[in-house]
Each structure stands twice: as C-alpha cells, then as structure tokens.
C-alpha cells in the first residue's frame, strides 16, 4: 500500500509514521468501540452506568496505548517476545494459586486493575511462534524435530488454561497457535492428519463419558448436550441460548429500535452486557445492525490479512496474521454461540462486550499490528 524507500533504515521520522499508520483500520476500531459504548448504554436501561462509562474510559486509554505501541518500532516488540512469553506462563501459574473468579480461577486482582493472564497469553504465544518461524530455516520448518518446540510452546499454556478450568480460552490458544504454524508454511499434511486426530480425540472424549476416564467435567458435558438440544433444559443451561435466539430473531430486518429491545430491557436475556451483548444489538438494530457489525469485523480481518500479505518482514507478517486469526476467533465464536451454532463457552464480543482485560489486550494487539504495518520494509 505505502511504498516508500528503505523505511527501516534507521529511525523513521514521526511524520512518516503518521502517514504509514493504517488509518482505515483505526477508524473501524473506533467505530466498533463507539458501537460498543452505545450497546452498553442500552442494556443498562439508558444509563452510562454501570457499564458504558467505565468502558469508555478504558477504551480511550486502550486506544491511546494502541497508537503509542504502533509508533514504537516492531523490533523492540520482537525483542520483548521471550521475556513476555515466560512472564505470561508465570502469571498463569500464579493465577492457579492466587486467582479468583466465578467457578474458575482466571483473574488476579491487582487492586488497580484485574488481570486475566490467559488473554495476555494468547498474544505472547503468537509473538513467540512468529519469532520462532522467522528464525527457522525454510527447508526445516516442516521436519518433525523442528516441530517440537512450537508444539511445546503451544501446549504448555493450553494445558495451564485448561486446568483453570477454562475450556473455551484453552481451545482458542490451541487454534491460534496452530494457525500461526499453518501461516508459517508448515506442511499441509500435518494439518490434515492433525484434523483427523482431533476428530478422533473429540470422539474419544464423548465415548469416555460416564466412564472413569471421563475427560470433561459433567458441567462441560452438559453444556455440549444442551448445545445439541437446547430444549433439554429450557430453564437452565438451555435458557441462555433459547432466549438469545428469541431476542435475536425478534429483531427482524430493522430491529425493534434503540433501547426498545423488550427481551433485554425486561431482563429475559442473561449476560446481556457480556457474552450476549450481540443479541441485544441484533434485537434493537435487526438484520441491518447485525450484518453491519459482521461486515465491519470482516473488513478489519481483511485489512490485517492484506497488511500481512504485503509485509516482507516475516516476524511482522506472521504476527499480524496470527493476531488477525485470534481476533476472528473472538467474534466468530461469540456470534456463533449467540445464534445457537456453537455451545456456550463464554467468549466476549471483541471491543463491545463489557470487560476491561480482553479489550485492553485486544487494543494492544492492534497496536502490535500497527507497529508491524508501519515499520514494514519498503521496496
């Protein structure tokens, strides 16, 4: 897109950085964020509190941080990769002992801010894998020996997060990691075989049910049952999905109108400020709104992928595309869940759901993407 000569020789001037900044992406991020504030206002019943206002502050801070991160040279971030990865692992271990959270130990309360290490882990893993594959000789990247380190890098955090227990996030980490490996060019056969192995594993999990080998907890098994048939438990676990579909569907083509969503306003929709905020959006703005948001997200992903494709710096390219996959997984799983296409796994809608940890990490990731984009080699 921006072809200037030898941009990474020495320091690029500040003005140049401004020009190289991916403004379309930034604008879309801003739009999404604004949308999010609007929705939080609505689900609070027409009030900036208790969600819209804090979220707005966080967004402004995060957006500012994104710009700053974007302006800092990508190699600086690259140099932080290894300490960052190790740091996240340590935090994950720490959360097992000091952590708190509903039913699962996911957060560390630092008084000033609540940290969710698993969020940070996603980013640092992608960074680590990007670094690894930017160093590995091309002809070696598919050989089994060279596969061990990345797999280890992936499975370690996956396992730690899984035992929190947080099935959803651990799968996200797993998939993001594999995506980077795929992008790096690892032989495609590995993935095909891996897919079959994965299917086999899933069947084994299901078959292990009700035996002493049972792999998932009853709660998780129940979640899957209800996913496959929500009417099994319409007032319990199936309630979320049934209500979500009702609210969503009743939005129709143009929605009920801002603040007019009866299901959300009357409290029929649980978790309406977090996991199910998309439902409220769909209910109030109809198909126009929901499709609109989907298109915005899709554009953001496309922008990132295009930037990565053009980026000749391997680390930058892998980092950008890997983070784009992570971003995609966020909104895809959330929307699928809300529409009954996936089991309820508690994944927030990026930049819109209430929650500071996820949003800040996400804006930070966009910062990294901007940094990779701005500082890509020209020519």
């Amino acid at each position: 897109m921006f072809i200037f000569k030898n941009a990474n020789e020495g320091n690029i001037s500040f003005i140049r950085k401004l020009l190289f900044f991916h403004w379309p992406l930034a604008i879309l991020i801003l739009a999404t964020g604004a949308f999010g504030i609007l929705m939080l206002y609505s689900v609070a019943g027409g009030s900036m509190l208790p969600w819209a206002e804090p979220q707005l502050i966080r967004f402004i801070v995060g957006f500012g941080a994104m710009i700053i991160i974007g302006f800092i040279h990508i190699d600086f971030w690259r140099s932080l990769t290894i300490p960052a990865y190790i740091g996240s692992i340590l935090l994950l271990i720490a959360v097992m002992f000091y952590g708190e959270g509903a039913g699962a130990q996911r957060w560390i309360d630092l008084k000033v801010i609540r940290l969710q290490p698993s969020e940070i882990m996603k980013v640092t893993l992608i960074m680590a894998l990007a670094l690894y594959y930017s160093l590995v000789p091309i002809n070696r990247k598919s050989s089994p020996l060279w596969l061990i380190p990345p797999l280890a890098l992936i499975f370690l955090p996956t396992f730690l997060v899984f035992s929190q227990p947080d099935l959803g996030t651990s799968l996200l980490i797993l998939i993001s990691g594999f995506a980077v490996m795929f992008l790096a060019g690892v032989n495609i056969w590995y993935f095909i075989v891996g897919a079959f192995a994965g299917a086999g594993l899933v069947s084994a999990v299901f078959l292990s049910r009700n035996t002493s080998w049972q792999f998932l907890t009853d709660y998780q098994m129940g979640r899957i049952d209800v996913y496959l048939n929500p009417s099994l438990d319409p007032l319990g676990a199936g309630y979320h999905i049934t209500q979500s579909k009702i609210a969503l569907g009743s939005g129709g083509l143009s929605g009920r109108g801002f603040m007019q969503g009866t299901q959300s306003q009357l409290d029929f929709l649980p978790e309406k400020h977090t996991d199910f905020i998309f439902t409220t959006l769909a209910e109030e703005f109809g198909y126009f709104g929901s499709l609109g948001l989907l298109i915005i997200y899709a554009l953001m992903v496309i922008f990132c992928l295009l930037s990565a494709a053009k980026n000749q710096y391997k680390f930058g390219a892998l980092l950008t595309s890997g983070l784009a996959v992570m971003f995609f997984l966020y909104f895809f799983i959330n929307m699928a869940m809300v529409m009954g296409l996936a089991p309820v796994v508690g994944v927030p809608l990026p930049l819109i759901s209430w929650g500071g940890s996820a949003m800040l990490v996400l804006l930070g990731s966009f910062g990294l993407i901007q940094s990779a984009h701005v500082h890509q080699p020209k020519g």
Partner: protein
C-alpha cells in the same frame, strides 16, 4: 536482530506466507458467510416465530373472576347473593420487618404464632413483590379494625373478593343447591375448562340450580394482559378484555310458600311439591330434613359432612325429585282413566268388594278387611279407595294400557328441570320385567301395579304433575325458571291430552268426593271455604310384606311398628275444584296413613298458598 531478517530469502518467504494468508483468508470469509446466513435465517426467515415467543415471554394473562349471578324467587326476593370476602394480604417488599407487622396484626385479628411462622416462611420463598393472603372471610368488624390501623402495619393491604351467600339457607337448600371450591373432579367434566376455573378456590356450583345452570350463573372473567419482566414483576397493563357478570336467575318458587312448607314438614322425613296447575310453575318444592348450604361455600367441615352422611333421614337428598316411592292408591286415577278411555269400563259400572280378591289360589286383601266396601261404582271406589274395584278393572285392562295412561299423566318420566338427580320413577311393562328379572309378567303383578305397589315407583314431583294433568286435561310440564336477566321465559303452551271430557269429569268428581264426602278417605282434611274446595286422593304405601300369620292374628297397625316398617303416607290434591289453580303432592316417609298424616299437611299447604296470594293482592 536486523541481520537475521536480511538473511531470509525475502521473495520465497513472501510467497509462502501470502499463499497461506489467502487460504486462511478464504477460510475465514467462508465462516463469516455461514454466520451471515444464520443471521439471515433467524432474523428474516424465522423472525415471526421469534417475535411471537418474545411476546409470550413478556405478556402474562391475569384473570379477574366475574361476579356470579343472583338467584331470586318469583317475587324478586334474594335467595342466593354474593357478599364481600374481606381479605388481608402481606407483601414482603413493602415492609422492612414483616415479622413485626404480623405480630402487631395478631393483636387485632385471630392469628397465632404458628400461622405467623408459616406466613413468614412462605413470603421468604417467593418474589418480594408477590402478595400472600394472611386471612380471608373476615368479619366487617375485624376488617375495619385493621384498615383503620393500616399506617402502623406496613406491608399489609386490604383486598375484597366475593363469596356466595344464601339468605334463607335451609328452606331452599335442595332447589338452589350450593357452590363450593372447584375440585379436580369438577374439572374432569369439562372438555375445555374455562381458564377461570383454575383460580384457586374458585366457587363452582356443586348441586341444584347452582350446578345445573352453572354456565348461566358464572358469567365470564375479565382478562387483563400485563407485561412482566423475567422475574415476573408486573410492569404495566397492556390490554383488558372485559368479561361480564353472571345472569340473574329468577325462579318460579315463592319463598313465602317455600318457608311455610318447610315449617309444616319439620320434624318429619318428607317432601312436597306445590305447582300452578295451568302454567306448570313450581311454587314450592321442599324436602326435609334439610341442611345449611352456607356451610359448603368455603369447603365443608369434615364433621358437618359426616353428620349429614350418617343421618338416616338423608338430609342431602332432595326427596321431592329423587325419592322414588310406590304411589299406592294415588295411581288409581290412572287405572280408571285407562279403563274408561278404552271403553272397558263405563262410569256407572259397579263391582262388589267383599274385602278380598282371589286370583287363582292367591288372595289379595282390600285394606278394609271387615266385610269390604260392598257394592261400589267408580266415583265411590275412588273416594273410598277400594282396592278390589281396581283389581277387577286392572285385570280387564292389562298393564300395558295402564302403563301408557300413567306415562301420559307424567309417571315414569324424567322432567327437564335444572336440578340434580331427578328420578325417572318406574312404570313397569311386560318387556321391562323380562329384561330385568328374566321372568314373564304375571296377572298378580298387574294387580299390584293397579294399586300402586309392586314395581311401580313415583316421586312427589311426578305425582304433582299427574294431579295437574288430571285437573287441567293438558300435558302440563313442570317449570322452575321464571326469568333470566329479567327476560321472562316464554310460557309454554301445553298440548291437550285428548282424553274424553266425561272420563276426566268422573275421575275429578271421585277425587272431590274423596275429600268432601263423609265416606271419603280424606274427609277429615276438607276445606270448609266454598271458594277453595279441594279434590284429592290419599295413598298409603306399603313397605313390608304382610305375612299370612299376621293376617290371621290381626294386621299390625302403623303405630305398633318400628318406624322403618311403617307405611309411607301420600296425598295429592288440587284446588279450587271449580277452577283449578294449584296442585300439591306430599309423601311422608313411614308416616303411616295417607289420610291421617299426609292429607292435613297437603291441605294446609294449599290453603297457605291461597291465603298468601289473597294477602298480596290486597
């Protein structure tokens, strides 16, 4: 670090990465497409379905019970009304200390510690804005005491519902019936039960007019649609569909006459019916002993219920319509009429009564044992109730003809009245006996039937109808409803029975003789007033077999027998003779002689009707 970068083969790297990126990009776009498709399905194709469910979520229906229709007597006097049910409810969210409020309340009304505990435990289990009934059917005094003190009783609200009340409970209990809290059994009777029946303790008619005309009396509930949120809290009312209160029912009964009959019969186990001869309207219908219907309205106490069930005299049964007794001599008119109409008998025919009648080697004894009645014509036979005369007639006429005439006069028929358990009685026929006992009909059966014994059964209502039909010559049908919601029921025109005037004449004269001739069985009960002379027929219905031994040693008198073995006392009559207005029938269970026990009461009921009407006209 930078040198690492420059060592890479830039082009190859770029190509491999971009290929994968494109692949991944396409994959993601496909998935996004699936999302968009699913969105479309939910929001556009299935939008209606979800809109509907969204509505169902948020709209609740509340029923407001309708006011039940009043029941009045023929003069508009209130028999069954609705009175206020004063209730107190408590709502948790309106008080910070429900226990304190309840303790304060217990000083004003009857509320013990156990009840307070129960209420406190109930309100802690439900949503804070749902009210719980503390007490209902409070007296006005208690209710007003509490209302005055409301400011000191946070959380308490007064409410008023309606409950049924019977003003003259015992005399009308059997006709009006009663309501009670709806039960599962009640609901099973309906295919599509009205949702209002699901209101707990909804009062539904259980017996009598209250039950038979339940739909008319109930009205229709108002429906209020309210918007609720997920915890069930009402946000606002969105729609109200008005119902209507039940229709006011006016009966043909005259409460004054009903009261009189009830008093006149008190102490006995009996029933009576008083009808208007020409219109068929029932002026009074009484059965004693009776009960208090107000006890049933809120749900009857086990003790009271047991006492009613265990009472040998069956107070819950409406004997006037459900009681089936052998009509005894009151059937003789039907026998006579059937013989006259077929020409087998003419009004001047005579028979000799020696006190007994032989059929083969069976001897039937006339009630006048010593020497019998002697030579009798029809008029005398009716007046003196000679059995032998009628046995002679019956043998010639046969049961089938007798049965037909009896049916034409209303016996063996079930009438269409809004009352429960109306008996059809029984007029036996040859085929009936064959079917029931698998035995052929015998002449002896005919003889028994001729004097209203054997298999024949009739209720006081049927006897009253029969009397009306004889008096008027028309096929009178009994009526109980005068008007519904002020609109009078159209008076039915009754068809002529098409009996010969002369046949009916002689029978009527026989009945007149029975009361006013010195030899008539009911002479002692005659009415002196020329204007209201009565014509009637006594009956003494045997309930036991009289053995041969007893015949020889002397048949026991009723007074010497235990109550259950005594004969039923029966009397039917109409008055005035010249221009019949009223017909009455009365059966006293085990009352003994019809002439001695039943006739005086029948006369009094008739007299009272005249007296009361004369009074009200002037």
């Amino acid at each position: 670090m930078r040198k690492l970068f420059s060592e890479q083969n830039v082009e190859k790297v770029r190509k491999s990465v971009s290929r994968r990126i494109i692949l991944l990009g396409l994959g993601k776009m496909t998935l996004i497409g699936i999302l968009a498709w699913r969105m479309r399905k939910l929001q556009i194709e299935d939008s209606e379905k979800y809109r509907l469910q969204a509505e169902e979520n948020r709209i609740n229906m509340r029923l407001i019970p309708p006011e039940r229709g009043l029941i009045l007597d023929t003069r508009g006097k209130e028999l069954a009304v609705n009175i206020g049910n004063y209730k107190l409810v408590i709502t948790r969210e309106e008080t910070s200390n429900p226990k304190e409020t309840l303790v304060k309340l217990s000083k004003l009304i009857d509320l013990d510690d156990k009840e307070i505990e129960k209420i406190l435990s109930n309100i802690s289990k439900i949503s804070p804005f749902v009210p719980i009934t503390i007490a209902e059917h409070l007296s006005w005094e208690s209710f007003s005491k509490v209302v005055l003190n409301l400011p000191a009783l946070p959380g308490i609200s007064p409410e008023m519902g309606l409950t049924r009340y019977y003003k003259k409970p015992t005399s009308i209990a059997h006709v009006v019936g009663y309501v009670g809290p709806v039960s599962k059994k009640d609901l099973e009777k309906f295919d599509n039960p009205d949702p209002v029946l699901q209101i707990p303790k909804f009062q539904i008619g259980k017996t009598g007019v209250e039950r038979e005309l339940e739909e008319t009396l109930r009205g229709k509930a108002s429906l209020s649609k309210v918007e609720v949120n997920a915890t069930g809290r009402i946000i606002r009312e969105t729609e109200r569909i008005s119902g209507f209160s039940g229709a006011t029912l006016q009966l043909t009964l005259d409460n004054e006459l009903q009261e009189y009959a009830y008093q006149r019969l008190s102490g006995l186990c009996a029933s009576s019916v008083l009808m208007e001869v020409n219109s068929g309207k029932i002026m009074s219908l009484s059965s004693v002993p009776t009960f208090d219907p107000n006890q049933f309205v809120l749900g009857i106490s086990q003790k009271y219920w047991d006492s009613l069930l265990n009472n040998k005299l069956r107070p819950l049964s409406n004997k006037a319509i459900s009681g089936a007794y052998p009509p005894a001599s009151t059937l003789k008119m039907a026998v006579a009429l059937s013989a006259l109409e077929t020409g087998i008998l003419s009004k001047n025919d005579t028979f000799e009564c020696p006190g007994h009648f032989d059929l083969g080697d069976q001897r039937f004894h006339c009630w006048k044992k010593k020497g019998g009645h002697g030579k009798m014509d029809l008029k005398q036979a009716i007046a003196q109730s000679c059995d032998v005369y009628f046995w002679e007639v019956a043998r010639k006429v046969g049961i089938e003809r007798i049965g037909n005439t009896a049916k034409n006069l209303g016996l063996g028929t079930k009438f269409d009245l809004p009352l429960s358990s109306i008996t059809q009685g029984l007029m036996p026929t040859k085929s009936w006996k064959k079917k029931k006992f698998d035995q052929p009909w015998r002449v002896g059966d005919t003889l028994n039937a001729a004097v209203g014994q054997g298999f024949t059964l009739a209720s006081p209502l049927q006897l009253a109808v029969m009397t009306s039909r004889i008096a008027s010559g028309k096929a009178i049908e009994p009526q109980l409803i005068k008007s519904i919601d002020g609109i009078n029921k159209i008076q039915k025109e009754f068809a002529d029975l098409n009996y010969n005037k002369s046949s009916l004449e002689i029978i009527r004269k026989g009945m007149f003789s029975s009361v006013n001739n010195a030899k008539g069985t009911a002479y002692k009960s005659r009415i002196m007033d020329e204007e209201t002379t009565m014509a009637g027929k006594t009956g003494t219905s045997q309930v036991r077999r009289i053995s041969m031994i007893e015949r020889e040693t002397g048949v026991l008198k009723n007074e010497d027998l235990p109550w259950e073995k005594r004969d039923h006392a029966i009397f039917v009559a109409y008055a005035p003779f010249k221009n019949p207005k009223y017909a009455v029938s009365i059966i006293i269970e085990h009352g003994g002689s019809g002439a001695q026990a039943a006739a005086p009461i029948g006369r009094d009921i008739l007299l009272n009707a005249f007296y009361y009407n004369r009074k009200s006209i002037s």
